[in-house]
């Protein structure tokens, strides 16, 4: 003990000037340290608010669309009822617009004017005629989908103070749009195409329904594969496996698998499912399988924790009346652990829903217009759709991307809310 050799101290001079100063400094350090902690959390919170705020601000307008009301003449001479698909309805819509702006005569300007209507107008009008052939020969006010540039001007997305050459709309177009708006030909409505259709090259026609269906199909494969396998594996490891090398290996292996980068699972899917087993590319089946392998460790770990929380006295009680080990597990332990198991599964599925990288590897990035209806149809999923749209040059896709993110996050919130409710309502504290 070094203290022994030290001279006898005078005791702490609590009232001395030097000590006071020192205390003050120490408290200042204390406050600084505390402030760093608050600052760290504040940065995280600010980032989250910034992220969600930007995305909501950018994405919300995409749920609405601008419609343009045109007085269409369903010219019987131009409509061949035998061959509706061959009829140029787009020209019909454009002509109606030209009639409103008789002063526009030059070809280049006419083309610019025509761009104010979406190319979807063709299909819209065709469907109308198909549904009601009596329209032919009539003149009628019809609401048609506006082009993406008109839509963005109306929504105020474009900065019109920029020089004309640097923005996608010309001054004349802006003037026409102002006139249309002043005359009450433009109306806002819910963007049904966005919510109900598949992808498209035209921003105003591109929808997320295809991606939503793709995600649902993919996730149902993931659930169907990973839930039973994960629960069976966890029950085995937690309730039956004796401690030996082999089971240790399985355990270490599951923990490591949980930390393997997701893209490596994509490589596995590409090499094994596509190249070795020859499964179809871009299919929800393969995507679901890859995500199932990724989700498996999450489910196994959560299930084991839930099983471990069931007190041993329940197992003893059941064994005591002569239940077999399997009956103990299936009649008592698993039902009691079920809320925890389901919570873990939902959280695992939520992760899988947000996963992008592995699906890129197995070809789910293709441009797919049709809404998938089957596990082997080519499909894409919500996060991949976001990635694709984020890469698209058209300005209107930026809002669509943000809106798609809002939908994705909406699903995630829903799933996590279910998990929280399950945990609160049914989880037992022993």
């Amino acid at each position: 003990m070094t203290d022994m050799t030290m001279p006898k101290t005078e005791g702490l001079a609590v009232s001395s000037q030097a000590y006071r100063k020192r205390i003050k400094k120490r408290y200042a350090a204390e406050r600084r340290f505390r402030a760093y902690g608050i600052a760290a959390i504040a940065v995280a919170v600010a980032f989250l608010i910034g992220l969600l705020g930007t995305i909501t601000a950018k994405g919300a307008p995409a749920f609405l669309q601008t419609n343009i009301t045109l007085n269409i003449f369903f010219d019987p001479e131009k409509i061949d009822t035998e061959n509706l698909n061959g009829v140029n309805f787009q020209a019909m819509a454009r002509n109606a617009l030209y009639d409103m702006f008789p002063e526009v005569t030059e070809r280049r300007e006419k083309r610019q004017l025509g761009q104010l209507i979406s190319v979807a107008a063709d299909q819209q009008l065709r469907e109308m005629v198909r549904a009601d052939p009596s329209l032919i020969g009539q003149r009628k006010d019809v609401q048609l989908l506006a082009g993406d540039d008109l839509d963005l001007v109306v929504k105020g997305t474009y900065d019109l103070s920029q020089p004309e050459a640097e923005r996608p709309v010309s001054d004349v177009q802006v003037a026409w749009i102002d006139k249309l708006q002043a005359q009450g030909h433009l109306a806002r409505g819910i963007a049904w195409p966005f919510l109900t259709t598949g992808d498209s090259r035209e921003p105003e026609m591109a929808g997320i329904w295809g991606a939503v269906m793709g995600s649902l199909l993919t996730l149902s494969v993931t659930l169907a594969v990973s839930f039973p396998i994960g629960v069976l594996a966890a029950v085995y490891l937690q309730e039956f496996a004796t401690k030996n090398r082999w089971n240790d290996l399985i355990e270490v292996n599951i923990n490591n698998l949980a930390a393997v980068p997701s893209i490596v699972f994509g490589l596995l899917g590409l090499a094994v499912f596509l190249n070795f087993f020859g499964m179809p590319r871009s299919a929800p089946l393969v995507g679901g399988l890859v995500l199932a392998l990724m989700t498996l460790p999450t489910i196994i770990i959560a299930t084991r924790a839930a099983l471990a929380a069931v007190p041993p006295s329940i197992r003893e009680a059941a064994l005591g009346v002569g239940a077999s080990e399997l009956q103990v597990v299936t009649h008592h332990v698993v039902p009691l652990a079920m809320p925890g198991i389901l919570t873990g599964t939902i959280i695992g599925l939520a992760q899988a829903l947000g996963e992008t990288a592995p699906l890129l590897m197995i070809g789910m990035v293709a441009f797919i217009v049709d809404v998938p209806a089957n596990f082997t149809d080519p499909a894409t999923v919500l996060p991949v759709q976001i990635y694709l749209w984020a890469d698209s040059p058209e300005r209107a896709f930026e809002a669509r991307t943000s809106a798609a993110i809002m939908v994705l996050i909406g699903f995630l919130i829903l799933m996590n809310a279910i998990a929280v409710v399950l945990r609160r309502r049914f989880e037992r504290r022993w």
Partner: protein
């Protein structure tokens, strides 16, 4: 008869097996025999159901593996000159035949031989499917009859069923092993093929990465360069930026939450961090590319720095925020597991809270914190979407965070997305990079888990 129909028939047979077994067992009871059934009728039913299902399933799986091999083998004989072709050409020809038989598109003009081969191929598959249907159902019925005879008063149906279920559970727990094995084998196998085309030293130590190889042999400018050092440098640059955001923020957040925060603040801050962890990476990528990167570029203009539109900085900063929750939640656990006695010891000497934390708690928790940082690094190295969307494709060997860099994961994605040829050095390179990534992350995880475990043992 299609595959799904076979499965449907099998499932019906299985159900019949179940009900038959159950009623047989109840019948024994009713017939007035003295004694007691060993197992409940349910187990007799379940036993018979397994007896019907499992052998037939095993048969079907074996058939589905063998049949395409046989089909290819016989079909190859219809392709003229198959014996003299090299493997790649033959493979192309055979996939043509397969596509044609399935009514798809072929790569070249259709000649008569291909047509004949395709006809044979589809006929073979039809016959195979019929045989499969008949045989699998025959197997199911045969095993049903065999199993039915076993049902008796003292037949231990429950024990048999439990044994089967236990085997099924063991198989389920081996899926995890199989997955790892699948990853390792497929990566190694493809990497070996890659190394036949590109020497190992060039790959590991090359300073130039430009994987544009020729689609056809003899094309000009076909010499791709596969040196992975620029990718590793880019990966580590971005990881470094991310960690310099995530470690201080995550650590301070964890300290504040575990040592200072009132339950109310904790109740707000913890979910916020969890939400950060739950946001899909593609969303971070979008935010980095469309909001953070332009903001940095504008900021650079103000300050007179040149920050490119796709910069390591933007990707790294956003990735750092994404990783905060990983650092903070693990560190939180670690700090909480430091025994209260250590804290008390420091407080009793008159140390302030921050002094206690800095001089007592953090040193004690250091191994655990190191472990959590290592796990976070492994996360950052393997992260894909943020860098794909915000870091760029240019393989610059640079330490300047304002420039665009590329990473291992970005290159894997670029090499494999889009049209690809499975034997080209370009696609194989992706697997080699995958192997590198797997080895790095695995190494980090193993070390981290080891460190954390040692730390836990210290205080448990």
């Amino acid at each position: 008869m299609s595959h799904s129909l076979i499965f449907a028939v099998l499932i019906v047979l299985t159900l019949i097996g179940y009900y038959f077994g159950r009623s047989q067992a109840t019948g024994i009871l009713r017939s007035g025999t003295t004694g007691k059934l060993h197992s409940l009728p349910f187990y007799h039913g379940a036993y018979l159901a397994f007896m019907v299902l499992l052998p037939a399933m095993g048969f079907i799986i074996t058939w589905l593996v063998i049949s395409p091999m046989l089909a290819d083998h016989f079909m190859a004989q219809y392709i003229p000159g198959a014996a003299t072709m090299d493997a790649a050409t033959l493979g192309l020809k055979m996939s043509d035949v397969r596509n044609m038989a399935n009514g798809g598109i072929t790569s070249g003009a259709v000649d008569e031989a291909t047509q004949i081969a395709a006809d044979f191929y589809s006929r073979f598959n039809q016959i195979s499917l019929w045989l499969l249907s008949v045989c699998s159902i025959a197997v199911a019925i045969a095993s049903f009859h065999f199993g039915r005879k076993l049902i008796a008063l003292r037949f231990r149906a429950r024990n048999h069923v439990e044994k089967i279920v236990r085997v099924i559970m063991i198989v389920a727990s081996m899926i995890a092993i199989l997955t790892t094995l699948g990853i390792v084998l497929s990566l190694i196998f493809e990497t070996l093929r890659f190394l036949q085309k590109v020497p190992l030293a060039d790959f590991l130590f090359g300073l130039k990465w430009s994987p544009q190889t020729a689609m056809r042999p003899g094309q000009i400018g076909s010499s791709g360069a596969f040196g992975m050092l620029p990718l590793l440098a880019g990966t580590f640059l971005i990881t470094l930026i991310a960690m310099s955001v995530a470690v201080p923020l995550g650590l301070y957040a964890a300290i504040y939450m575990s040592e200072y925060a009132t339950p109310r603040i904790r109740g707000i801050a913890k979910p916020v961090l969890e939400v950060l962890a739950g946001i899909p990476t593609v969303v971070y990528g979008f935010f980095a590319a469309l909001t953070v990167a332009p903001m940095l570029r504008d900021l650079g203009v103000e300050l007179g720095w040149v920050i490119s539109a796709e910069s390591a900085l933007a990707a790294g900063l956003v990735m750092g925020v994404m990783i905060i929750p990983f650092v903070s939640s693990l560190s939180d656990d670690v700090i909480n597991s430091v025994p209260q006695t250590l804290r008390d010891g420091a407080y009793a000497l008159g140390a302030t809270k921050s002094e206690t934390i800095k001089q007592v708690i953090l040193p004690a928790a250091l191994p655990g914190i190191v472990g959590s940082v290592l796990l976070a690094i492994s996360r950052a190295v393997g992260e894909t979407m943020i860098v794909v969307m915000a870091a760029g494709l240019a393989a610059n060997l640079t330490a300047n965070p304002f420039e665009a860099v590329t990473t291992v994961t970005v290159q894997i994605v670029t090499l494999l997305v889009g049209d690809q040829e499975f034997d080209s050095a370009k696609t194989l390179a992706a697997f080699a990079l995958g192997l590198v990534l797997f080895v790095i992350t695995l190494g980090l995880n193993v070390i981290a888990l080891y460190v954390v475990r040692r730390y836990r043992e210290q205080y448990d």
